[in-house]
Amino acid sequence: MFWRLLWKLLRGSSGRLVVAILALVSGAMVISALLNLEFDIERKLTQEFRMLGANLVISPGHDAQINGAAPAALMNESEAFAAIQSLKDPAVVAAAPFLYIVERAGDTPVVVAGTKLEELPELEPAWRIEGQWTPSHENQIPCIVGRNVVRQLHLALGSTLLLSYLGKTTQATLVGIVDAGGAEDNQVFMGLAEVQRLAGLPGQIGLAQLSVRGTAKNISEFAARLAAALPSYEVRPIRQVTEAEGDLLNRIRLLIGSMVVLILALTALCVLATMAALAMERRQDVGLMKALGGSIARIVTLFMAEVGVLGAAGGFVGAILGIELSRWMGQRVFGTAISLRWEIFPLTIALMVAVALAGALPLRLLGKVKPAVIFRGE
């Protein structure tokens, strides 16, 4: 009986029902798309911020003696990198050791950084490179040279750079020219082992730079764990990067978040208004049922079930469409699809059912309905 009545009710008012279902479906679509976006935006933006380059530095620590141009304190390469690997954190985008020495190219002193060339593109995605990051030939020593060095020493891609340090010399082939717009434009980047050999410092590095994905809080937590694993060294976030990143991230999230809340409220309100109108149209039915002896509780339950079913159905369809919409938005904005959050699905449906039920609340007033008045059409 209950179900038959429900079915009849759903079929009865088709015009109004179409409006209500349309409102529910599109409301659910907008809500689920925006929620999906809102949940994923932080991850997407922190990825974008990795353009800023390294945000964590491991250095020999403060007690190191400061002695003009030659940083005296060094760290053990394998010790530092064993600690990074032992943490096995997927948030580490890139990690590279650095050993700086001042070598001579002919008569010109030039800063040479020994590092892992293959880590550089990940560590510093903003650098413009002409040529290659990594060499194509095995049997030569590759180097990447800053663009000021290239200009000063009249070099070109493929030319050979003769470097000497305290009587030892090395011949490197120029495979890439880097334009970073900073001190790196004045430096030469080479394989770490070669620089260690020249400097006579096997296994030693000056510092290590890491690019770690995450919010400022994630990064400082990671830094703390790394510091615990490396008690003799100093691990510190690069404040210029982490501080500005955290601040900007918060502002962008707040901005998008508050707009999303506004739209959610508007959509909910729209669905609420439609459902309220749908409910009020049922006054005649209520009068009739009441006149036939139906109890108010039963009548209200019936209508609640009706709008609940509507809300669930609209929410279901809308959530599917909304997830498609957020996929499209992710593709459009970030170039990669936004990862789906399945918890959005039940959340949207629950929200739509709740809004639909709230819209039907005016029906409670029907307890006061006097059938005679309604039938007279007043």
Partner: protein
């Protein structure tokens, strides 16, 4: 007659109008605030991105290679080229002068530091710079700039030096190696300016007493250096009025394929468009013009991150704004449709009395239009207030209302209310008055 019908409808049954009007007000308020924010966000976020620090670096063009590790130049003072301090005011005369938010010159001098006249000297880098210097601009005004603008993440314990006083700020790592150096203590800085060997002049020794006023932490190489006012570093190095590097923080528009093109290969119209857009490439070109003999480089890390995130957030915000407009349209359309359906009996009576479909449609649409104008106007005011508080909570300064949006919002409101009632009105034209009047 037509006007009276419309007026009566408002006077007789205001309750019905309230629902549509409320939907219009809320919908248009959300539309106004999202549009206002979307229009403003580019400028606001670009300004926020300046907390990343400078995005342009100016160095002498005919320079030797700087021996620079971690931001400190270890070249001896007699090597390499310098830039002149007096030209800096010209930066505020370029076409995009208002987009130059700040600039800071740097001069690094190797020197020795003594805690007292006869204690052991410690070798350290002296970094000369400005904290908040007044620079006079050729047009007669002055402009305050320095580290306070370009390096906002440098934190000082105590206070910063005054640019015209014999004061200094000590790097935290350097301070750790010099126990006893705290704020208020006087230290002695000595440098040997090398003599001109060609003319056989002996080098002179410069000693200056400086009062430590703060301990700075930069998380960079400056932690191991002593920061002093630029004038003092110039005196120590024997290069008065000169510096080595200039960091410029400029408000820019995200780079696109157009801005990356070579200006020399552009047509005159393209060149004008490029010159008059605040791209980082055109601003650096303009800086190069007023500071001849310099090399202006884009700090890629900062500029590219900013450009990428700005353009992405911009697109995202426009999509969200579209969603807001869609939701607003939906809300208004749904309520309009509801009111038409609610008034079926009325339509039935009118039809029974001989009203044509077009007259009924005209009456309803006129009502909707009136509601749209009223609701749109109120919604605009509410939305502008909403945008103000949203701007204040996100960016710290309220977003100013844009009057240009007013007609846009009214137009949107009218269209949405119109379209929302068109579909149910089409249905209403098929109504057969008899069953409606019977109450079926």
């Amino acid at each position: 007659m037509f006007g009276r019908l419309v007026r009566e409808s408002f006077v007789r049954n205001p309750r019905r109008k309230v629902l549509v009007a409320a939907a219009l007000v809320v919908g248009m308020a959300v539309a106004t605030s999202t549009l206002t924010i979307a229009l403003e966000v580019g400028d606001r976020l670009a300004r926020e991105f300046r907390s990343l620090g400078a995005n342009l670096l100016v160095t002498p063009q005919a320079d030797t290679l700087p021996i620079e590790i971690g931001g400190v130049d270890y070249r001896p003072v007699n090597e390499g080229a310098y830039l002149s301090e007096t030209d800096l005011g010209k930066l505020k005369t370029i076409f995009w002068r208002h987009n130059i938010l700040g600039f800071t010159p740097f001069l690094d001098v190797p020197a020795t530091i003594q805690q007292s006249e006869n204690s052991d000297p410690i070798l350290a880098m002296i970094v000369g710079t400005w904290y908040a210097q007044n620079v006079s601009v050729p047009d007669g005004t002055s402009f305050k700039t320095g580290l306070s603008v370009t390096h906002p993440w440098w934190k000082v314990q105590g206070r910063w030096f005054h640019d015209d006083a014999n004061e200094c700020v000590i790097g935290s790592a350097l301070a750790a190696t010099m126990p006893g150096v705290t704020a208020g203590k006087v230290i002695y800085v000595t440098s040997r300016s090398p003599g001109d060997s060609a003319q056989g002049q002996p080098g002179t020794t410069q000693a200056i007493a400086l009062k430590v006023v703060g301990i700075v932490s930069t998380d960079d190489a400056e932690d191991k250096a002593l920061l002093v006012p630029l004038a003092i570093a110039q005196k120590l190095s024997g290069h008065p009025g000169q510096f080595r590097q200039l960091f410029v923080s400029a408000l820019t528009k995200p780079a696109d394929t157009f801005s990356e093109r070579d200006p020399l290969k552009m047509t005159p119209t393209e060149y004008d468009r490029w010159f008059c857009s605040p791209y980082i490439s055109s601003i650096s070109f303009q800086i190069k013009t007023v500071l001849p003999g310099t090399d202006v480089r884009t700090i890629r890390r900062v500029a590219d991150t900013e450009g990428r995130i700005l353009s992405r957030v911009g697109t995202l915000l426009w999509i969200v704004t579209l969603a807001a407009l869609g939701a607003a349209a939906l809300a208004v359309a749904a309520t309009s449709a509801t009111t038409v359906l609610e008034r079926r009996a009325e339509i039935g009576v009118m039809k029974a009395l001989g009203a044509t479909n077009s007259l009924i449609a005209g009456i309803f649409l006129a009502e909707q239009l009136l509601l749209a104008v009223a609701g749109g106007a109120i919604g605009f005011v509410v939305g502008a207030a909403l945008a103000r508080s949203l701007g204040a909570s996100v960016f710290g300064t309220p977003a100013s209302p844009r009057l240009i949006l007013f007609p846009v919002i009214l137009g949107i409101a009218a269209i949405v209310a119109f379209v929302g009632s068109l579909i149910p009105l089409r249905r209403a034209s098929h109504f057969n008055p008899a069953p409606i009047l019977r109450g079926e």
